[in-house]
């Protein structure tokens, strides 16, 4: 990948990290509040299903995770395993697609 491409990859990872920081915080706080509030699984699903807000929030969460995590793995593969180039990029892209598919499956399960 060209240096300019590498810089864009870096920018994408930083930008998604910033969004993920907010998403993870909201997710964890919601989780703790729900558990301490004694909400059942059915009660939680009752609030999330059909909610455009929660659907949008978790869709953004999944997209950012699907971009951020493979780029991090790509760096680890390059630096720790000296695995660089198209094969490494393809493997990380495939991992990103898996995260995206599984993530959207989970979003659909709790919001549709």
């Amino acid at each position: 990948m060209s240096p300019r491409g590498e810089m864009r990859v870096w920018l994408a990872q930083r930008a998604t990290a910033a969004v993920l920081a907010v998403c993870v915080t909201v997710h964890l706080v919601t989780l703790i509040v729900a558990v301490h509030g004694g909400l059942s699984a059915a009660a939680i699903l009752g609030r999330t299903r059909g909610s455009p807000g929660w659907m949008t929030f978790y869709a953004v969460f999944v997209v950012c995770a699907a971009i951020h995590a493979p780029l991090g793995l790509r760096t680890i593969a390059a630096e720790w395993l000296s695995w660089r180039g198209r094969a490494a990029d393809a493997a990380c892209t495939a991992f990103g697609i898996v995260v995206l598919v599984l993530g959207f499956r989970a979003v659909a399960a709790v919001t549709l």
């Binding site: 590498e6 920018l11 630096e79």
Partner: protein, 241 residues
């Protein structure tokens, strides 16, 4: 103050990459530096010991070695500070090919300064009036904070990313590029930013800050590299890169 009969148990790397440590007992002296120890061995015990030094006052950057596991400028490193138990292990700098004994090949280190476009490119000629640079401007302050590098390669030998990615330009070359990016007289800012972005450039830095921790001149290459990342991002968003 050390006693006259007190000895410093010193292990010095001898040979090339496949060499080994050799032991020497060196008399302790007051205000003794690590370079004094190496020089004593070379002058009194084994004249074939190869090492590099020039100024002996912390200006030339040629005497850096690995001292008890950490890269240091040996001419300004007092034995009392790094070997409280009178044991000293002196090896060549890490992350650079060993030539012999304590001498490393510095070519790749300085080649990377060139790759990072570390040369000033003037926008004026000698016939133009002298540029008036405000010393208090933010750009000049940023450049001044990074400009006193002596090229000793202590940062380069400290950097984990250099060890992982041999193409990485390293803290010193990127620090140099940053001083020029912030120099309002320089004419190749865009080309320089293009040279220092990407996997082998500033974006490979993990901000471990070992370069900043160990720089004998107390510079902060980490800050310079962060500045390059910021400048490159702004240039990219403006469509200049």
């Amino acid at each position: 103050m050390p006693r006259p009969e007190q000895l410093l148990h010193t292990r010095v790397w001898r040979g090339g990459t496949d060499g080994q440590f050799q032991s020497y007992d060196v008399p302790r002296q007051e205000s003794q530096t690590v370079l004094d120890v190496v020089t004593w061995i070379q002058r009194r015990v084994d004249p074939s010991l190869a090492y590099r030094f020039a100024c002996r006052v912390g200006m030339c950057g040629s005497c850096a070695m690995t001292v008890n596991g950490l890269p240091r400028w040996t001419c300004r490193t007092h034995v009392a500070r790094v070997a409280p138990d009178d044991r000293l292990e002196i090896a060549p700098l890490a992350n650079l090919p060993i030539v012999r004994d304590l001498v490393v090949d510095m070519r790749e280190f300085f080649d990377k300064w060139r790759e990072a476009k570390g040369q000033f490119v003037p926008t004026a000629t000698r016939h133009d009036p002298i540029a008036r640079v405000c010393p208090d401007s933010p750009a000049r302050r940023a450049a001044d904070a990074a400009i006193q590098c002596i090229g000793c390669a202590v940062c380069y030998a400290s950097c984990d990313v250099v060890a992982w990615n041999p193409k990485y330009l390293g803290p010193a070359a990127l620090n140099r590029a940053w001083t020029l990016v912030r120099d309002e007289r320089d004419g190749e800012r865009r080309q320089r930013l293009s040279a220092v972005v990407g996997d082998a450039g500033c974006h490979a830095c993990h901000t471990h800050t070992l370069c900043t921790e160990r720089c004998p001149m107390h510079l902060s290459p980490t800050t310079s590299i962060a500045g390059l990342k910021r400048a490159a991002a702004i240039a990219a968003l403006r469509g200049e890169l």
